[in-house]
Amino acid sequence: MPLDTSTYNLALLRVDGRRWNELRQQKGQLGVQPSADGSAYLEMGNTKIQCIITGPNERDTKSTSSASTAPTSGGLGATVAVSIMIAPFATVDRKRRGRNDKRLQEMQTTIASGLAATVQGQSYGPRSTIHISLNVLSQDGSLLACLINAASLALVDAGVPMTDYLVACTAGSTSSYAAADEEADPLLDLNTQEEQELPFLTLATLGATDKVVAMLTRLEGMMATAADGCKGVRDFLDGVVRDKGELMVQEGAIGRGEVVSSMDLD
């Protein structure tokens, strides 16, 4: 599916009108599912994710059979179990996915072990599990990055202690190896069209994952761009959490400056 990227060089505007270092429109919300222990809804452009946290509760092997798990705090803390469900209506052509989709399993493993590095699970003990269910409602590029961000946000809502947000972002490269164009811009936060066309990487800061399909000469530039994007995403997520906190104070759910005991880390 050839996408005409040559127009980029003329106006330096991407297919959706962004500049190279612009993120897409983001929307985030905490506590979208009142019955869950923690939940969040995140939009990055047209990629829309709902994340539900159940637990920490006692380990139940039956419910984690399709999920990917990773232990926190070197096996001494709670286990993080991640399962991803992509709705059949999430993409342009309606498609049902099997349970054994290896691409999904790989993403589950990546998210689980990535989050396990930031979740402070030792306060729950090794026999408990935190279930993270990620529902993809709409898919338009940067899926892995968006899933990681949504999971981070929902963990904050659930009050699970973490060292920091785990935030992710994608970056692509417009230069080709053959062209050897050193000046070409890296692109931030790709959509589906750009993902199909360009080599890209997903980078998660504070830890965890990168997946690069790129040329060596441009690797550093792309990683720096993605890391910058991650900072932007982190500020956004932090804003969402602070707004929610402000709202809770206004509603009188908690007093200003009050410390919730379960979130007290040290």
Partner: protein, 301 residues
């Protein structure tokens, strides 16, 4: 589900301490590979890779099938992995473990998605007939670093493989037996190799207490069980990265990843030369008395 036996606390402490001091249990340097050996079978497309005690067998087969309806001009190329209980008691038949899923996804991204094999050249009659190339990968013995060894085995097997020659006359497609016409090699575009870096936390160096990540290359199973995270870089000898995967685990400095990628290039060049040399030896061995040149169809008739 059976699990790999965990190393004892004493073993853990010993190995981690040694690694921090720059030593390994088998006396290798931190960035040194184990003894690597590559043997080809009697048939075309069988590669047997031995890396220390890890042993992997790859076999390539080809058959004529109908192409996928959404890709009428492309042939079919699949890689299947099998981690049998023979290799380690932790593996079960028909129940892919996380190791296996990650391994097959990695090979897929490295070899298939990077267009190492030109699938368009496998098309025989558009929309009706195409070659289906299948690589079966068997792990015969598991002692760590499955990814690098598997990738080498797959690439070597595919480059060694010869598919039967075909001819079109009018509307009839003829597949010639090896007796009729010498089989032809696949259309191979570049050879990607995987290099896996295993991280073991960081130590401070110098007076200013600068943190430096410790990493090992070609880890044994024991070292693999103790690592805090790993990063696999796939590239070809021209330095083109096909993929980089760091599936979670402890955080690593971005600078380290970039440094690793330049070191990986060195190692990939070594591996690439090694495979080239073994392939040349094998073709020399097969081509006794220059018979192949005589059998070739493109002589000046």
């Amino acid at each position: 589900m059976p699990r790999e036996a965990e190393p004892s606390q004493n073993e853990k402490d010993f190995i981690l301490k040694a690694v921090r001091e720059g030593h390994r249990l088998d006396g290798r340097a931190l960035d040194q590979f184990r003894q690597l050996d590559l043997k080809f079978g009697e048939q075309y497309g069988v590669a047997d890779v031995t890396l220390g005690k890890t042993r992997i067998l790859a076999k390539v087969t080809a058959e004529v099938t109908v192409p996928y309806t959404d890709r009428p001009f492309d042939g079919i190329f699949t890689i299947t992995t099998e981690l049998s209980p023979m290799a380690s008691p932790a593996f079960e038949v028909n129940r892919p473990t996380e190791t296996e899923v990650l391994l097959s996804r990695l090979l897929e991204k490295t070899v298939r998605r990077s267009n190492a094999l030109d699938t368009e050249s496998l098309c025989l009659v558009a929309g009706q007939k195409c070659w289906s190339i299948r690589v079966d990968l068997h792990v015969l013995s598991h002692d760590g670093n499955l990814i690098d060894a598997s990738c080498l085995a797959v690439v070597a097997a595919l480059r060694h493989f010869r598919k039967p020659d075909t001819g079109m006359e009018g509307d009839t497609l003829t597949v010639y037996t090896p007796a009729e016409r010498e089989p032809v090699p696949l259309s191979w575009l570049h050879s990607p190799f995987c290099i896996t870096f295993s991280f073991f936390g960081s130590i401070s160096v110098g007076e200013d207490g600068e943190e430096k990540d410790i990493w090992l290359l070609d880890t044994t199973l024991l070292e693999e069980q103790l690592r805090v995270s790993s990063c696999t870089i796939s590239m070809n000898k021209h330095g083109e990265i096909c993929q980089v995967a760091k599936p979670g685990g402890a955080p690593v400095e971005a600078v380290t990843v970039v440094q690793c990628s330049s070191l990986a290039l060195q190692k990939v060049k070594d591996l690439s030369d090694f495979v080239d040399q073994k392939l040349a030896e094998d073709s020399k061995h097969r081509n006794k008395g220059g018979l192949l040149a005589e059998l070739s169809a493109d002589n000046a008739r």
